[in-house]
Subunit: 766 residues, 2 copies
């Protein structure tokens, strides 16, 4: 369900090196950079001989990947709607099971019963100042056969919206973020007892009805503005892949910021035996009815709004002046659902490792879509399947991985990461004991390799990206990703350092956009999320238009980027499986933490300054003087002064972490000859180091989220907040929490650094 967002210039590793006057590590990195992509390039965790053997293996892996296979399998899997509960969803699970087994994997289906409402009735009409009944449907698919193919699709809806039948005045709330409600307050407008009309974008859709309900709204409508993914962005379907007038973005409104997965079984796997919560006690369920609509349906509603003119940043691309309301547009809306539990089907395939079978490498991609889901998720699911085929072929030829591989085709991701979460919760103890890596993908198309993950995997990803050829340019996918960042920075007038830099697919902090969430945020398993894309907005996202024909036309003509994704992920998996020492490098991680702590300092200082600035403005009545007397312009409320927050332990932890990480990375780069026992100890020490970053009590107000470094933002939903316990406590002015989590996070980072020291000591053992 990962939404495609426009590519922005990023200042990842490159700028950090530039501004921090890098230490001795830079020399090492640049040394690497000059030789990257050659057959003799160093390979993290391998000695030279093993690296050559690994490269030979990867060449054999690549040889099995055939674009025709991708096309054929996508055609089959995307032949009909495959949402949870549909016949084709189950058929695809059974197909995946058969295929894994035919390729030599030990495969099974694990079934979980989950709360998964499906719509019985959806209705929306404007009753004042004029009458209009919303179509709530998509009717412009080009191919007759596809229109036929969509039989069995559900009405467009937001899964987990409440049942309801309400009539009330409309208020336009922009993206429906907390800051949008602050703007409404400034203008003296409330959604209390009214229906909030929000546009898609900026934050996770599930927060829109949640915040609307918290502010008193009785229902929430979410529409796709052409400014965000329609004609303003570019030509629309069928000319190109921007959203047409009747395109509707379906999607979950589960409150993922609390916990993903079955809303009735937080923290434990759902099963026939589990005792579920009552629906009313499930805190991830929104309390009001919600409906997604197209701008064809939204346009008359918006045009009928009166009241204040919307602020500049709120205005979309529809051809009239945007007003906020409330009213005179009044809307009648009805939603009822079938709330009976449904079964979801995870397909799990395993090849056992030979040398360190107790170390597990997990690879997953979801399989369920909103309608047909050709791009999201089947494009990347097919890449996963072809990796499994190629690995199976290697295995049939006698090769075996040193570590155990687990391939997973998840169900129920779209509703809230149901399949991955229930599986991860069910097998939590084993996973915490054994898992060393989780690699996710979700959606794939032509373009640039991008990714997120724990930064101890940055070096591995860079090495792999330097070894995979980019289909469009003939360069490497790493060089191309770096070029994109460099050129975007140049065009945005952001200076970059004069030294040549290692091509890098700069790993972003992970939020909660896909199935890595339970593995990473809940269980502390080092995780990666990879995919190609970034050439544009995906305007067919979660609509009936996400079909096989459209994916072949707009997404990945020739399926060359499907192959490229398999080549990238396959290498990540195979190198991690075969490495003598797990291919983790910790300098990148330490630098990232340093950057995050720096941001926390800036956040705290900025808040100090801002509270004082506001106080002075209020003292001077500046808001009254600056206002247009014809408009309502309420001054913001006075804010409490910011007390001292004890951040020094974080600074100390960063210093220690940087030293320990450099020491470990150098010891590994020295390529020591290790006895099997030492190797095993080092692998054990670094294999679960990520778990040291968990807080068993979780984050403030959300115990399920245990990772102290990364979490989805409470106010953003999808997007990550780093050092979330500290950062969000400061943002929310919970000073006690800020101090407490600064201490907890520092302690975790110290433990992590000590772990690296232990591992480095093993590597240096004579």
């Amino acid at each position: 369900m990962r939404p495609t967002v426009p590519a922005l210039p990023r200042n990842g590793l490159v700028l950090e090196l530039f501004t921090e006057k890098p230490l001795f590590l830079l020399a090492t990195l640049l040394e690497l950079a000059r030789t990257v992509s050659s057959a003799e390039a160093p390979m993290l965790g391998f000695n030279a001989r093993d690296a050559a053997a690994e490269r030979a293996l990867e060449t054999r892996f690549d040889a099995t990947l055939d674009p025709a296979d991708y096309r054929a399998l996508l055609g089959t899997m995307a032949a009909a709607p495959n949402q949870v509960g549909s016949p084709h969803n189950k058929a695809n699970a059974e197909l995946a099971l058969r295929l894994f087994r035919s390729w030599g994997w030990d495969a099974r289906i694990e079934t979980f019963p989950v709360l998964y409402p499906t719509p019985r009735e959806v209705m929306l009409e404007m009753v004042a100042p004029t009458s209009m009944t919303a179509t709530l449907s998509e009717r412009n698919l080009r191919e007759g056969d596809e229109a036929d193919m969509l039989k069995g699709a559900l009405p467009a809806y937001n899964v987990y919206g409440a049942d309801g039948d309400v009539t009330a005045d409309l208020v336009y709330v922009n993206y429906g973020r907390e800051e949008d409600y602050q703007e409404l307050a400034r203008e003296g407008i409330s959604v209390q007892g009214r229906i909030a009309l929000a546009r898609y974008g900026s934050i996770y859709r599930g927060l829109k009805p949640k915040l609307a309900a918290e502010h008193g709204a009785v229902a929430c409508i979410i529409y796709s503005d052409p400014r965000d993914d329609g004609y303003w962005r570019g030509d629309v379907y069928p000319t190109s892949d921007n959203r047409p007038a009747d395109g509707i973005q379906r999607g979950s409104v589960l409150d993922l910021t609390q916990y993903p997965g079955d809303p009735l079984t937080p923290g434990v796997g759902s099963s026939r035996e589990a005792k579920p919560l009552a629906i009313r006690d499930a805190m991830t369920l929104v309390k009001i009815p919600v409906l997604p609509i197209s701008y064809h349906d939204a346009s008359p509603l918006l045009a009928a709004l009166g009241g204040a003119v919307a602020p500049a940043a709120w205005r979309g691309a529809l051809p009239f002046t945007y007003h906020i309301g409330p009213g005179p547009a009044k809307v009648h809306m009805k939603v009822t659902s079938d709330w009976r539990p449904k079964d979801i089907y995870d397909v799990i395939a395993i090849i056992r490792g030979t040398e360190q079978p107790e170390q597990w490498i997990i690879r997953g991609n979801h399989r369920d879509g909103w309608v047909v889901g050709a791009k999201d998720p089947l494009s990347a699911n097919v890449a996963l399947m072809q990796e499994a085929k190629a690995i199976g072929k290697l295995a049939k030829s006698g090769w075996r991985p040193k570590r155990t591989l687990i391939y997973a085709s998840w169900d129920g991701e779209e509703a809230g990461l149901l399949g991955s979460t229930e599986w991860a919760e069910t097998h939590a103890d084993d996973l915490k004991r054994h898992a060393v890596l989780y690699v996710n993908s979700d959606t794939n198309e032509h373009g640039f390799l991008g990714g997120g993950g724990t930064q101890s995997l940055q070096r591995l990803v860079n090495e792999v990206a330097g070894d995979v050829k980019d289909p469009d340019t003939g360069s490497t996918v790493g060089a191309r990703a770096q070029a994109k960042v460099d050129v975007d920075n140049y065009r945005a007038r952001i200076p970059t350092p004069p030294e040549p830099t290692e091509p890098s697919v700069s790993l972003e902090a992970l939020g909660a956009t896909s199935d890595f969430t339970p593995f990473f945020d809940h269980l502390g398993i080092a995780s990666l999320d990879l995919g190609f894309g970034g050439s544009g907005i995906n305007g067919l996202y979660h609509s009936s238009y996400d079909t096989f024909a459209n994916y072949e036309r707009f997404g990945d003509p020739g399926f060359r980027y499907g192959v490229a994704l398999s080549e990238v992920v396959g290498r990540v998996i195979l190198r991690t499986a075969n490495a003598s020492v797990l291919p983790f490098a910790f300098g990148d991680f330490a630098n990232a933490i340093g950057r995050y702590v720096e941001e926390i300092h800036k956040l705290e200082n900025g808040l100090h300054t801002r509270v004082d600035q506001l106080a002075r403005l209020l003292d001077a009545e500046a808001f009254r003087l600056a206002a247009d007397p014809a408009l309502t312009d309420t001054p913001p409320p006075r804010e409490d002064r910011v007390p001292h927050i004890e951040l020094a332990p974080l600074d100390s932890a960063v210093t220690m972490l940087k030293r320990s990480a450099a020491s470990y990375d150098q010891a590994l780069a020295a390529n020591p000859t290790l006895s099997p026992a030492v190797r095993s100890r080092v692998n054990a020490l670094v294999g679960d180091a990520e778990r040291l970053l968990l807080n068993p009590g979780g984050l403030p107000t959300r115990p399920w989220y245990q990772h102290l470094i990364y979490a989805p933002g409470l106010s953003s939903g999808y997007a990550a907040k780093t050092l979330p316990g500290v950062r969000e406590a400061i943002e929310q002015r919970h000073w006690a929490d800020a101090n407490r989590y600064a201490a907890l996070t520092s302690a975790a980072l110290m433990a992590y650094a000590q772990r690296l020291d232990q591992a480095a000591a093993e590597l240096r053992r004579p």
Copy 2:
């Protein structure tokens, strides 16, 4: 003709003080701030007794200002179209003459014959891929009487566009700036032999056809996109004052960046005797036909364009995907004009000073409009007239100014500052000898006091703004202007200094937006431009909708801000006229120069970095790798390295200037008792100090513009470039010019500092 632009947060004095850790001057400023607005507040150039008398005089001045007079005079002057050559234009001149005389002024009309084409035929039609004839007219005026009133208006046109009859493919060029043509080059698109379709905004309209012609276009169409001043901004006429679908922005396309005024008599006053240039030799005339159109007419043209999708920043608010072309939209366009000379009428009114009659204070506002011109320019012209009435009344009661006052009602401003320029050129020798101040206004409406000017007048403006009550809030107009800046900064998250600041109407650098240009940029007379506004975009700008009824409805209901403008400008005039020592303070000026030099350093450093960054990207083929292979994406050409530019003399000049300015300001603040002879010498020394900033040879490529500190930007037109000789030479990579003008500018600043030292020595003479 000053265009209204959205108010942006500004970092004027306030941030400068914050970042520069101000010197001892700050204490003085803050001392002043605490007492400002009280009857005992110090008044620059006055001792305490004289200040009390001056305040009493100003109270009597205010007593004459009656909103009913403003309404009545505006009603009369805005009763019919008053463009150059119209009967009502001449009638208004004669009315002004009668009024000045009736108020006791010595008044006359000065007539200048000028080149001023008026349209004979304008025609625009799309001939492919479909047919459409543009309406080229505004037809939705609400009041029948106003529609009648508009008889005698000219067709909407761009004065000084060439005659022509062309048919060619259309290309959309965004704002038609040089950077837009760079973007077109990147996408492999040329306007050669085609018609450029530009939208209004960002730069002076006259540069759009100029650049189009330079790039080979055969004609230029300029339209008003609803994103820039139409429905995207807010409700349109008749609900509010944003531009309706058929609204057309008329305007000049004279190349003001070379010289304003009659295109055929650069540098000299036009007269029956003057020998004009041939039209083909006038370098300010554009070579291709130009037409302004509404978005009602532009919409089908834009919608018919094919080719590449326009970049995000190019997209307006029309409800389709913006494409660049060229074609398939093909347009036939015809423009012919009557090129015979026309007469323009400046009305000049004088009251001779008693003590220092040789020091002249000039106050001007234009009188000609594009159609009726109720807001632009009559709203502010009426304020000027009412000032003259009030001053006349004071004079009739026996008061006389110490210095000479000259009030001017300019004609022909809209076509290119014709009336003010021809008058200033005609009287150049006298003006250089006598003028100490020029005060301009152009357009006025409710809102915030804003202004531009030489920063030696900043203190005077602040003192005045602290003494005038704001009609809407009851605070002072100075406090309100400062509150607006402070609150905008807060909302834009720009920190401001913790110390309380003096309320300030931060004077912006002057470009060439109105009639101050010949006085300031050509003759080196200290100038101010003042007006209220900034509450929004002026979407009726230069259209038939700029009528009396609409001005009363949207511009200044109750005419209270007309009165406030007279109160502000009247005080500026009266204080300058009556001050013992001219009310200039030079610390603000020195700080501003320091800031400008800082910017030049940043510009030079940034260019170094950027040239190197580009070279690295080109070496790495990064542009090819970052491109979408489906699109044309040409890498930028390699740039030469930046040589050393000798900026050290500018740094030295700033140091010296800051010291000299502080010394003078302190000497004046000590309020010395001066003999008439010393006073006269000090006034003479500071009265023409601004002239020391002129370079008799002018700026590179444009000898008419002689001011070394301020000029309209060659690439922006209206907007100012500071230290233009140096800055634009660096921007254009004319390294020899950069060095030469750095030396010239430093020398001028040194001479200015020495002049202040002389004056300070006089003030300190025992």
